[in-house]
C-alpha cells in the first residue's frame, strides 16, 4: 500500500496549487493565442465554404452548434473525472477543477441549445421540439445549473466539493440513461454523422471547418478552465486570509 500512496503524494506535490498557479501563468497566454488563431482559421473556413444545397446558408450554424454540443459533453466528462479525483484521491485541485468547469459547461450547453434552436426554426419550423437529443441536452443544462446552485448553497468549499462530486458521478451515470430512454420516445434530430464506426458520412468540405472549430472550441474550454481554476484558487486564498484577519483582530483587543 505504501508504493501507490507515495506515488500519489508525489503526484499531488507536483500539482499543488502554487505550482499550478505558476504553470497557469506561463501557459495561459499561449493557450489563449492558439485559441484565437484557431478561431480565426475556423471562422474563415466556415464562412468561405459553399452552403448546403438543401439548407442554404443556415448550415453554417453547424460550425458553432456541433462543437458547442461536443464541448458540453466533454466538459461534463472533465467534471466527472475531477469528481473521481475528489472522492478517490482527495486531490485538492480536483474539486477546484470540478467547480470551475460547471459554469463553463453550462455556457457551452446554452450556446448549443440557442444555436440549435436558431437552426431548428428554419429547418423544422419550430424553436423547440421534445426530441431525444435536444431533451437530453436540456436535461444536461439543468444538471449544470443544479450543480452550480449546490456549490453556491454551501459555505465550506471542501464539503461542497465532496457533495457535488457525488452528484456529478450520479449524473454521469444517469445522462446516458436519459439519452437512451428518450431515444425511442421520439426523435427528429439527425443522427450523428461525424463520429461513426464506418468513417464520417459528412462531406469533407464541411468536415474540415468543423474539425478546426471543434479544436478551437476545445482550446477555448481549456483556456477558460485553467483561468477559472486560477480564480477559484485565489478566491479560496482570499477566504483563508480573511479568516486569518478575523482571528488576529480578536487577539489585539
Amino acid at each position: 500500500m505504501s508504493e501507490p500512496s507515495l506515488a500519489i503524494r508525489k503526484f499531488s506535490d507536483l500539482a499543488n496549487p502554487t505550482r499550478f498557479l505558476g504553470l497557469v501563468a506561463t501557459v495561459w497566454p499561449w493557450l489563449a493565442g492558439l485559441t484565437l488563431c484557431l478561431f480565426a482559421v475556423g471562422l474563415y473556413l466556415s464562412f468561405t465554404t459553399t452552403g448546403d444545397y438543401q439548407q442554404g446558408e443556415t448550415v453554417r450554424i453547424m460550425y458553432v452548434h456541433v462543437p458547442a454540443a461536443w464541448l458540453s459533453m466533454m466538459c461534463y466528462t472533465v467534471m466527472a473525472l475531477s469528481a473521481l479525483g475528489t472522492l478517490v484521491w482527495r486531490h485538492p485541485l480536483a474539486d477546484v477543477s470540478a467547480k470551475a468547469a460547471a459554469p463553463i459547461g453550462a455556457g457551452f450547453t446554452l450556446v448549443a441549445l440557442i444555436t440549435g434552436s436558431l437552426w431548428g426554426k428554419p429547418m423544422w419550423g419550430t424553436w423547440w421540439v421534445w426530441d431525444a437529443r435536444l431533451t437530453s441536452v436540456f436535461v444536461l443544462f439543468l444538471m449544470y445549473l443544479g450543480l452550480i446552485a449546490l456549490n453556491r448553497a454551501m459555505d465550506d468549499p471542501t464539503r461542497a466539493a465532496k457533495v457535488s462530486a457525488v452528484l456529478i458521478l450520479v449524473g454521469f451515470v444517469n445522462i446516458p440513461i436519459i439519452k437512451f430512454s428518450v431515444e425511442w420516445w421520439n426523435t427528429l434530430h439527425q443522427p450523428a454523422s461525424v463520429v461513426r464506426m464506418d468513417g464520417p458520412t459528412i462531406d469533407s468540405e464541411f468536415l474540415w471547418p468543423l474539425l478546426v472549430m471543434a479544436i478551437a472550441f476545445s482550446m477555448l474550454f481549456f483556456t477558460l478552465h485553467i483561468l477559472a481554476m486560477r480564480n477559484e484558487i485565489l478566491r479560496r486564498r482570499i477566504a483563508v486570509l480573511r479568516r486569518h484577519a478575523a482571528r488576529s483582530a480578536g487577539g489585539a483587543a
Binding site: T126, W130, T135, F138, M154
Partner: protein
C-alpha cells in the same frame, strides 16, 4: 425601509440565497411535464399556459418559508418587532424584496419556457404579462402563511399547504386571462383586471395578516 429592501436583495444573491433556486425549480418542473404527457407539440401548446402558471405558483412558494424564519432564527425578528416603524410596512417591504429576488426571475424566464412549450407569440406575451401581474399576489398571500408557520419546526411544507388553496383565485384568473387572449371570442381585459385587483387586495391583507401572526407568535 430602503435599507431593508437592499439588505434582503443582497441576502438573496449571496451564497445560499434562494434567487437562483426558484427559477431552476420552475424550469425543472416545466421541463418534466412533456415527459409525462408526451412530446405532442399541439397538446403542449394548448396546455402550455396552464403548465407555466402552475410551475410559477409552485416555484414562488418554494422560498417563502424562509421569509421570516431566517429572521427569527438569528434574533432579527425581535428587533424588527420592537421598532416604531409599523410592522405591516416592514412585512410589505420584505415581500417586495422577496418578489424581486424570486418572482421577477420567474416572469423573465417564462417566455423562454413558452418556446419550449411551443406556444405562439400571443400566448407567450399573455402568459408573461399575467405572471407579472399575478406572482406578487402569490408572494403577498404567501407571506401570511409564512408568518403563521414561522414558529413551527417544519414550517416549509406547511406554508405550501396553507398557501396553495388561498392562491387558487390567482391561478384561475391568471390562466383564464391567458386563454382569453388566445381564443378569440372571450375578452382578455376582465379576467386580467380581476387579477390586478386580486394583487392589490392581497398586497393589503397579506402583510396585515402576516404582521398579526408574527406578533402573536413572539415568545
Amino acid at each position: 425601509m430602503i435599507a431593508m429592501l437592499l439588505r434582503d436583495l443582497k441576502l438573496s444573491v449571496r451564497a445560499g440565497g434562494g434567487a437562483l433556486i426558484g427559477v431552476l425549480f420552475f424550469m425543472t418542473v416545466v421541463a418534466v411535464i412533456p415527459f409525462g404527457v408526451g412530446p405532442d407539440l399541439n397538446l403542449l401548446a394548448r396546455i402550455g399556459p396552464a403548465i407555466l402558471w402552475i410551475g410559477a405558483l409552485l416555484a414562488s412558494l418554494l422560498g417563502l418559508d424562509r421569509l421570516f424564519q431566517a429572521e427569527r432564527e438569528d434574533g432579527s425578528l425581535d428587533l424588527i418587532l420592537m421598532q416604531e416603524t409599523p410592522l405591516v410596512l416592514t412585512v410589505f417591504v420584505k415581500c417586495v424584496a422577496h418578489w424581486i429576488a424570486t418572482g421577477l426571475p420567474l416572469v423573465i424566464a417564462s417566455p423562454l419556457l413558452g418556446l419550449f412549450m411551443n406556444m405562439d407569440e400571443v400566448a407567450i406575451g399573455a402568459t408573461t404579462l399575467t405572471l407579472l401581474a399575478g406572482t406578487p399576489a402569490i408572494t403577498f398571500i404567501g407571506a401570511a402563511g409564512a408568518g403563521i408557520a414561522v414558529a413551527l419546526p417544519r414550517g416549509g411544507l406547511l406554508v405550501s399547504i396553507l398557501v396553495l388553496p388561498l392562491a387558487i383565485p390567482v391561478l384561475i384568473f391568471g390562466v383564464s386571462a391567458v386563454y382569453a387572449a388566445i381564443q378569440e371570442p372571450a375578452p382578455f381585459l376582465p379576467p386580467f383586471l380581476i387579477l390586478v385587483a386580486l394583487n392589490l387586495f392581497f398586497a393589503v391583507i397579506g402583510p396585515v395578516a402576516a404582521a398579526a401572526a408574527l406578533r402573536l407568535s413572539s415568545d
